[in-house]
Amino acid sequence: MTRTVVPFGPQHPVLAEPIQLELTLEDEVVVDAIPGLGYVHRGIEAEAERRPYDEDLPLLERVCGICSVAHAVAYAQAVEVLAGVEIPRRARLLRTFWFELTRVHSHLLWLGLAGDAIGFEALFQSCWRVREDVLDLFTATAGNRVIIGVTALGGCRRDIPDTLQPTIRAGLDAVERGLAGIAPFVLGSEAVARRLAGVGVIPRNVALDLGLVGPTARASGVAMDVRRSGYAAHDELPVEPVVETGGDALARTVVRWREIGESMRLCREALDRLHRLPGPLATRVPPVLHGEAISRVEAPRGELFYYVLADGEPHPTRVRVRTPTFANLAAVLSMLPGTQMANVPVALLSIDPCLSCTER
C-alpha cells in the first residue's frame, strides 16, 4: 500500500502553538508520527542561571501563560527549601486559592479547545464565556487577566483583604452558575460522548510504563495527584484524586470536568480560612543561597518538577524544569499509530499539550 507523509504544523489551526508532526499515513490511518519540536524554545533555563533569584520569578512565570502560577509556586518552593524558610500560613492559603483558580481557567480553556477540535463550536464559545468570569476574579484580586504575578519568594506579593471577599464569592457564584449552564453540553451530550469515546486509548499499564502524569494518567485509572504531598495549603485542604478508568479522550474530559468542581470547592475553603486570618504575607529569603532543592506541584496538566542548584552566588547555578506535557507527549506518540487522520487533532489535544512549557 502506498504511504503518504502529511506534515501537521508548525502553524496549524487546531493548536495555537507551533508543533510539527510528520504523519505517515496508509489510506486514512496513521502508521507513524515523528514530532518536530523546538519552535517555542527560548532558552529560559539558561537565562534563569544569569538572573538573580527574585528576577527569575517573573521570567519563569512566563514559561507558560496558562499555568504561570504553577511555575511561580514550584520555583518559589524550591528556593524556600534552599533558604530553609517556612512561609506564612496566609501565603500558603493565598497560593492555593490562585493555584486552584488557575486550574479552573486552564481546564475550561482546554475544554473549549477540545470542543473546537471535535467541531462543537457552541461548546468552545460557552466554555470561554464562563472562563471570562474566572479571569474577572484574577483581575479583581491581582490586576491582570492572565499572568498575574502574585507569587513572591517566601510568600505572596498580593493579599486578598477581607473586604474583597464578598466580591470574590459573588464571582465564584457566577462561575458556578456558568458551569451549571454548560454541564449538559459536556457530560450529558451524546455528541461529545460519541465523538470522544474510544479515541486515543491508553490502558492503565501503558500509562504506568510511560510515566504519564496529571489528568491523562488519572483518566487511565492511575490515582496520582501531587497535591496529596501537602504543598502550599494542601496539608489542611486535602484533595482526593479524580480517577476514571476509560483511558480514552472521553475519560480525560470527564476527569478535567470533575476537577473543575473540586478546584472551586478548594477555592472556597481557602477563602473561608483566609477570613480574619492575621499574619504576614511573606518571609524574607536571603539573596545568596547554598545547596540544591527540588519541588513538585500539581499543575493543571500534571506534575511539574523544579530543580534548583545554588552555589553561593546571587543567581542559581542551575534551574531544571520538567513539565507535565513532556511526560505526556510520549502518550500521544503511542496512541497515534492506528488512529484515523481525522482523530489526530483530538488525540493530540486530549493530553492538553502545552508546548511553551515543554520547550521553554
Binding site: Q11, V40, G43, R62, L164, C354
Partner: protein, 179 residues
Amino acid sequence: MRGPRALWQAWVRRSRTKSPWIVHFDCGGCNGCDIEILDTLMPRFSAERFGVINVGDPRQGDILLVTGPANLRNAAVLRSVYDQMAEPKAVVAVGSCAAHGGVFRGAPNILGGVGELVPVDVFVPGCPPTPERILEGVIAALPLLAEPRTARQATGGPSPMSIVMLEPREEEVVRVPAS
C-alpha cells in the same frame, strides 16, 4: 474624477478594509498573548461581530497577528507564513515579546522582536495585552489594507516607516472596598 473606474476602486478599497481575516502565528511566546487573541474572538469581546475571522490558511488572511519573541527555529516559519499571505496585508505584533523580546530578551535562542524578521505595522503593548487592546491594534491596521504595500510606499501613504504604536493607557485599577 468620477467614473466607473473610480467607483470600482472605491469599492475595492472598502471591501479590503471591511471584515479583515486574521492569521495568528505563535512565534515562541508563553501562550498568554495567544489565549488573549482567542479571547478577542470569544463571546465577551466578540471580534467576529466586526467580521474578524481567525483563519488557518495564510493565503486567506489579511492581518498577521504575531505573538512572542523571534527565535532561531521559528524564523523561517514566520517568514514563510508572511510570504504566503497575499497583498495587501498588515502585521500586528501583539505583546511585549513581539515588540522587542520582552522578558526573554537576551536569552540564548532569542533574536529579539518579530520586527527582526517581518515588517511590523502595529505594535500592541502589554504582557499580555488585554483583548480590547488587541482589537484596537487590529483596527489600527485596517487603513493599511486599502492598498498593497508597494502602492503605499509609492504614493507616500502609510508605509512601514509610519509604524502605529498604541499609547499605553491608564492601568486597570484594582478597587478594594474601604473597610
